[in-house]
Symmetry: C2
Subunit: 541 residues, 2 copies
Amino acid sequence: MKIALVQASFIEGAFGKNLTTIITHIRKAKDLGVDIVVFPELAISGGNVGDIADYDDFGESNLNAINAIASECRDIAVVVGCYIPTENTVLRPFFNAACFIAEGKMQQIVAKTVLNDSDISEESRYFEPNTDFLTCTYKNETFAIVISDDISVPVVSMEFSVNPMDQISKQSPTFAICIGAVPFDYNQREIRHTVISTNAARYEIPFLFVNMVGGHNNIVYDGGSLVANAQGEITYEMNYFKEDVYVVNLNNKQENISEFEIPNLPKIARIYDAITCGLRDYFARSGFKKAVIGLSGGIDSAVTAALMVDVLGKENVMGVLLPSEFSTSHSIKDAEDLAKNLGIEYDIVPIKTAYNTFMQMFEPRWQDLPFDVTEENLQARIRAVVLMSYSNKFKAMLVNTSNKSEAAVGYGTLYGDLCGGISALGDLYKTQVYELTHYLNRNGIRIPENTITKAPSAELRPGQKDADSLPDYDILDKLLYAHLEGKNNAEQLLAMGFDQALVNKVLKLIRLNEYKRCQAPPIIRVSTCAFGHGRRFPVVW
Amino acid sequence: MKIALVQASFIEGAFGKNLTTIITHIRKAKDLGVDIVVFPELAISGGNVGDIADYDDFGESNLNAINAIASECRDIAVVVGCYIPTENTVLRPFFNAACFIAEGKMQQIVAKTVLNDSDISEESRYFEPNTDFLTCTYKNETFAIVISDDISVPVVSMEFSVNPMDQISKQSPTFAICIGAVPFDYNQREIRHTVISTNAARYEIPFLFVNMVGGHNNIVYDGGSLVANAQGEITYEMNYFKEDVYVVNLNNKQENISEFEIPNLPKIARIYDAITCGLRDYFARSGFKKAVIGLSGGIDSAVTAALMVDVLGKENVMGVLLPSEFSTSHSIKDAEDLAKNLGIEYDIVPIKTAYNTFMQMFEPRWQDLPFDVTEENLQARIRAVVLMSYSNKFKAMLVNTSNKSEAAVGYGTLYGDLCGGISALGDLYKTQVYELTHYLNRNGIRIPENTITKAPSAELRPGQKDADSLPDYDILDKLLYAHLEGKNNAEQLLAMGFDQALVNKVLKLIRLNEYKRCQAPPIIRVSTCAFGHGRRFPVVW
C-alpha cells in the first residue's frame, strides 16, 4: 500500500484554489502509483474560516468539491478533510469530517469526536461530535481514519474518558491515518511526536499524520507531518513551514526501520520560522508588498525590521525615524545603524513641530496644566499619524512592534505605538525578543550592539527607562509566563516565590489594560496563550 | 408556595459583591415569608466571564459562595446559577448549573443541557452538557429547574431532537423555574414571550423565568423576567433594564388569571433603553465619569452626544468641534446648535494648522504626489489625536460615533473616527440612527433639524457626500441587514432583487474591511449580529 501524505496550504474560503491544489496532487500521485492520497483536516475550505460557514453556499461548496474530487478517484483513493452538513435535528450545522473517497464516490465520512474549544479553537460553534466508530477498507486493507484531537486529547489528558481509537481498534485496522490542522506553538512539536508515537505503540500499527501548513491570519500551521511504525518509532518527519509531499510504502519493511533522528533545531529558530511564515502569508493574502516600520533605535523595532527584511526583501521595507525632544542622540544613531545594516531605505521625520502645533491648539483649554501621560501619549500618537500616512501613501503595511510583556501590562499608547496591520512580536516576551535578536545576529551583526546593550526606554519624557515603572524584564517575564501560559493565580504565584506587591501590581495592570489589547492588531501566535482571539477576557470586570 | 424572582445585575468575577447581593435578597425574602428565592443563570460569578474561569480559584470561589448561601438557607430555599467544576474525565471544566439549596445544604445540581455556541455565546469552551434529568422537591412540591436555552432551542428550532423538559416532565413537576442570562436584542422580547408561553402550555404547568439584567461590556442583559400560568398565558412581566423583584404566590388562584397586557413599547424605545443601560454600566465599571465626543455637525455624533447626556448628565459630557478646511460652515453651526440644545460644554479646535504641519513634515518625501486617501485619513487621525488628548487630560472616555453601515463597508478611518473606548451606535444601521434621532427629539428638538435633513458627508475633501461612493442608506441598510443578520449570500441577495453590481461591491467591501473592524472599540450589541466578538471572520481570506 503506497500512501502519499500531502502537507499543503489551503486558503480560507478559497474553494476553487484549494480544489486545484488537491486535484493537482491527486494526478501527480497517480503517476507515482500511489494507492491513497491524504490531505489535511479541513483542506477543502481552509482551516480557520470562522463564520464564513454561516452562509448557505459554504456547505454546498464543500460538497461540490467532494464531487469534483470523487470524479478524479479512479484507481486511486483520497482522504481529505472538509465540512459536512448535519441534519437539522442537532444543534451544530456541520461535522468536521475526513472523507474517504474511492472508486468515483464517497465511501465513508469519518467525523471528529473530540472537539477542541480551548484557546484559539471553537469547534463546538460549528461542529457536532461524532458518535460512530468505523474503519475503512481499500484494496483489502482495513485502516483507521482519525482527526487531530481524537488521538491527542487521550494522550495529553490521560484521565479523559472518550478515546475514539479504542473503539476503532476493535475492528483491527492494520494502519491509521490521522489528519490535522494543528497550529504551531513552541511546544507543539514535542507533543506531536509523543502523541503519534504513543498511539502507534499502543495499537501496534503504523500511524501516518498529515498536518496543514502556512500562515493564516494570526495562526501559523507548521506542517511537520509524521510517520510512525508499529513499534511507535518516528520513521519520518516532513518539513516545517513548507509545503511537502512524502510517499510511504507500508509494504516496504525497510521503510519501517527507524533510522530517523529528530533534527535538533533550537526553539528560537522555530519561533523565527513561525513568525516569518505567518508574516509572509499575511502580506501575500492581504495584497501588500511593502512594509513600513517606525524605527526608535530600540530592540523591538529593530527586530521587527530585520524580520520584515527576511520576509519581503530589503527593497520592500521602509524605516521611519521619528525623534522627539526626549529622544537621546544614540537612538537616532542606533536606528540609522540598523537601517544601514539591513540596507533599507529610511526617512527621518522629527515630530517636534507637530508636537508644538498640537500643544498650541490645546493651549486655550490646557493653559498651565502640568505635563502628564497626555503629552507622553501625544508623541506616540503623532508618530502613528506619520507612519499611517506613509502606509497610505506608499501602500505599505505598518508593522506593529509591541511585545507581549508590554501588551500584558499596558506599556504602550493606544492609537500610538499599538498601531499596525499585523503584530510581529506580540506573542514574544521581551526576554524572547532579545533571544530572537541573537538568532538574527548569528551570522553577523544586523541589529546594532548598542540597541541590544542599552536599557529599554520609551523616551517619552526626559531620562525615562522601562525599569522606572516596570520590574526587570527577567522577573516580569517569568511572572507573566506563569500567569498567562501557566494559568497560576495570585496565591499560586506567591507560593512560587514572586513578591506579593509585584504580583498584585502586575495582575492589576493585566486586568486594567484589556481595553488596549482589545483594539490591538492581529498577533502572530507562537505560544500556547497569545493575546487576541485565544484569550477571552472582559474589558471591564 | 411563594416564590421570589430576583432580577438583578451580577458583575463578572466580583464574587464578594455578587454574594452580598444574593444574601441581601434572601434575607428580605425571608421577611416576606417566601419559600423559594430564584436568582439568574451564573449569578454567582457574573454571566460573561470568559477565560477568568481558567484560573483555579474560579471554581473554588463559586463553591465557597454556594456554601455561604447554604448557611443562609434555613426555612427558605434558593435556586441560583453558577459554575460547578466537573471531573477531569471529561473535556470541559464546568457545568453551567442551577443549584437548588435548602435546609442548609446543596440539594441538587441541575446542569444545562443545550449549550449555546452561536453569536456571542461560547458555552462549550467552558461547559460540559448535562445528561441527567431530575425534578427537585421542596415542601412536598415537585418542580422542574431548567436553564435558558434548554427550553428555548426546542421551541425556536422545532426539529431539534434534544428536549430536557420532555424528560423532566415524566416526573410530573407542578411548576417550572427557568433561570437565564439572556442578552437583549431587538427581537428577544417576542421570542421570550413565545418560549415561556409555549412551554407552560405544552406541559400545563406555571413557568417562572428569571433573567439577568444590566450592561456587561458589549452585552446588555435586559431583564424582562416572566411568569406564565398553566394555560400558557403570560401573567406578569418584570421591568426591563432595571433591577426588580417579584413574589409569585402559586397557591393564589387570582394571580394565575391573566389580566396582563404586554406594554407596547416601540422597538426604537427598547433600543434606546438597551444602549443607555449598556453605556451607563460600562462607564460605571471602567471608572470613567466623563465622556468626550467629537462633534462634526453630523447625525452620528449628535445622537451619541444626546445619549451620553442621558447617561452621564450634561455636566459630564464635553464636545469638541474639529473643523478642517473642507468643513462646511453649516457643520460648525449645527454642532454648536447641538451643544447648546444639550447644554454641554464645547471647544472649537480647528485642525488646519496641524494638517499643514504634517504636510510640511511629509514634503521632502511626498513632494508633488497628488491628494488621495492619505490626506483624507490624515484629517480624521489629527482629530483622533486631539480627542484622545482631551480624553487623557480630563479623564473622559472618548465615545466612538461610528454606525454599523459605515463599519460594514469600511467607511471610516482606522485610528481616526474609529477610535473610542466604547461604541454607542456601532450596532445600528444609519437608517436606525435616524429613527433614534426622532425618538430623542420626541419631546422637543435636541438634535438640530439641519443635522437631520442634510445629506451625510465625511467632509474630508471638497463637496464630498456619502452618496458619492455609497448607495443610498435606505438600500444599503436593507442589503446589509439581509446579508449580516439574514445570512443571505450573494445568490440569495440577487434573488431578493438587489442589483448584482451593488451586491458584489458591498460584499467585497465587507470582506476587505475586516482589518478595520478587528481593531474597533467594543460595540453595545442590540441586534442578532453585531460586529465584534459575535461575528468571527478572518481578516484576510
